[in-house]
Amino acid sequence: MNEHDARLLPPTFSPWTPTNPVCKQIAVLMSGGVDSSVTAHLLKSAGWDVLGITMKIPVACGVGNRGCCGADAAFVCNELNIPHYFIDVTEAFHDVIIQPFRDAYSQGRTPNPCVDCNTFLKFSLVWDRLQEEFGITQLATGHYAKVIHDGQATYLRRASDKDKDQSYFLYGIPSHRLPSLALPLGDLTKHQVRAIAAEMKLSVAEKAESMELCFAGEQDYRVALEKEAANHPGDMTDMQGRKIGVHKGIANYTLGQRRGLGFAGGKPLYVGRIDAASNIVALGTREEVSTRVVQAVQRNTLLPERLTWDTRLLGKIRSYGDPRPCRLTDLTPNGMTVEFEQAQFAPCPGQRLVLYDEQENVVAGGTIQN
C-alpha cells in the first residue's frame, strides 16, 4: 500500500484546530449517510474533538441517483460545526479495490470489495495519512459492531442489533490498531440512529440506505463488469460434467445462485462450480453445492490465543446470517481450515470466512479459497 498516495484536499470549511489533547481527538470517516453522521454527532457530544474525513473515490458523479463523492458529508460536518476534509484515494481505490474486483469475477470468484476497502484503505492508507498530517491516532466509523476494552485486551465484537451487525466486514483491521478504533453505533439499532439524526435535524436523517457498491452507483454491480472478458458464453453442465445448457459468461454468476439460470421445474439447481480456465459453469442440487469444510487464506488474526484446536468457534461464510458452530482443523502461517458441524451452502471463493468465539468476538478472518 505504501506506493499509493492519499492526498488531503484543503479544508472544506474551517481547518482542523483541536483544543483537546491528542487522546481526545478523533477522525470520523464519513460517507454522507446517516450512520457516519450520527457517529460524528455522538462523539462530539461526548466531548471529543472530531474531524470529519470523506474519501474521494473514482465514481462518475451525477450518474443515476448517486450523489457526488460524499458532498453530503461535508454539509453534515458544517451542520455539526466540525472541520471536514476530503482525502483523495482515487488511484489506490482503483488499484486495490476496482481492479481486483474485476479480476476476481473474471476468475470465477466472488469478491468482497467492502472488506478490502476497510482493510487496505480506511484502516491502513487513510489512517496512516491522518496520523502523519494531523497527529490523530484514533479513528471512528459508522459501522454496526463493537470495540470492547477489557483490561489490557481489546475485542471486536458483533453489534447488539444482529440484523445490522457489520463485524464481518471489519475483521481485517490490523490488531495493533483495534484499541484505537471507535464504533459508537454498536449498541444502537438503525431505528435509534435515525431517531437521533431526526432529533438533531441532520439533513441526512431521512436519506435512503445505500445497498449497492459505492463505485457501481445505484446500478447492478455487473454494469461495472459489462465490458470484461469473462462475459463470453460457454458450457453449462451438471456437477458431473454433462452439458445441460449455455451460460452468458462466468462474470454473470456467483456460487449458490439460483435465479437467472434458465432452468425451471424439477429439483432446484444452484451454481456449484465456476471454472474460469475452461469457461464452464456447473449446476448442482443444494446438497451438491454444500460443504462442511471451508479453507481460507490471507488470514488476519485478532485473537490468536483463541484460534486453537480445542476452542469452540462459530464461523460465517457470508455477511448475513448467524455464525455457525465449527472447529479449526488446519492452521498455516497465512491460512486456516475449519469444519462446520453442518454443511454450509455454497461457500464462495473470494468471500470471507470470519470466526467468532462464544462471546461473539472476532477471532480471525480470511479469504475463502475452496
Binding site: T12, A60, G62, A71
Partner: protein
C-alpha cells in the same frame, strides 16, 4: 433576478461542488450563477451533480483554459 460570478478554478472535485452549493444557497430562487471551473474532472462532474440536485443548467461555455457554467437556481 441577479447574476453572480463564482470562481472555482483551481478547486478540485468534490470541493468545488460544496463551494458551488454554498454559493447557490446564497442566491435567490431564479438567480443565475456563472461558475468558472477547470477542464477535466470538474467539467465532467459538476454540471451533472448540480443538474441532479434540481438546478437548471443553462449553458456551458468554453473559455481560454477553463469553462463557465451558467446555472439558474431552481431549488
Amino acid at each position: 433576478m441577479l447574476t453572480t460570478r463564482v470562481n472555482l478554478r483551481g478547486i478540485p472535485c468534490p470541493l468545488n461542488l460544496v463551494r458551488a452549493k454554498l454559493a447557490m444557497e446564497k442566491a435567490a430562487i431564479g438567480d443565475i450563477l456563472e461558475i468558472e471551473i477547470d477542464d477535466g474532472e470538474p467539467i465532467q462532474n459538476l454540471p451533472a451533480s448540480l443538474g441532479r440536485q434540481g438546478q437548471e443548467i443553462l449553458e456551458t461555455v468554453k473559455l481560454d483554459n477553463y469553462f463557465c457554467l451558467k446555472v439558474r437556481r431552481r431549488l
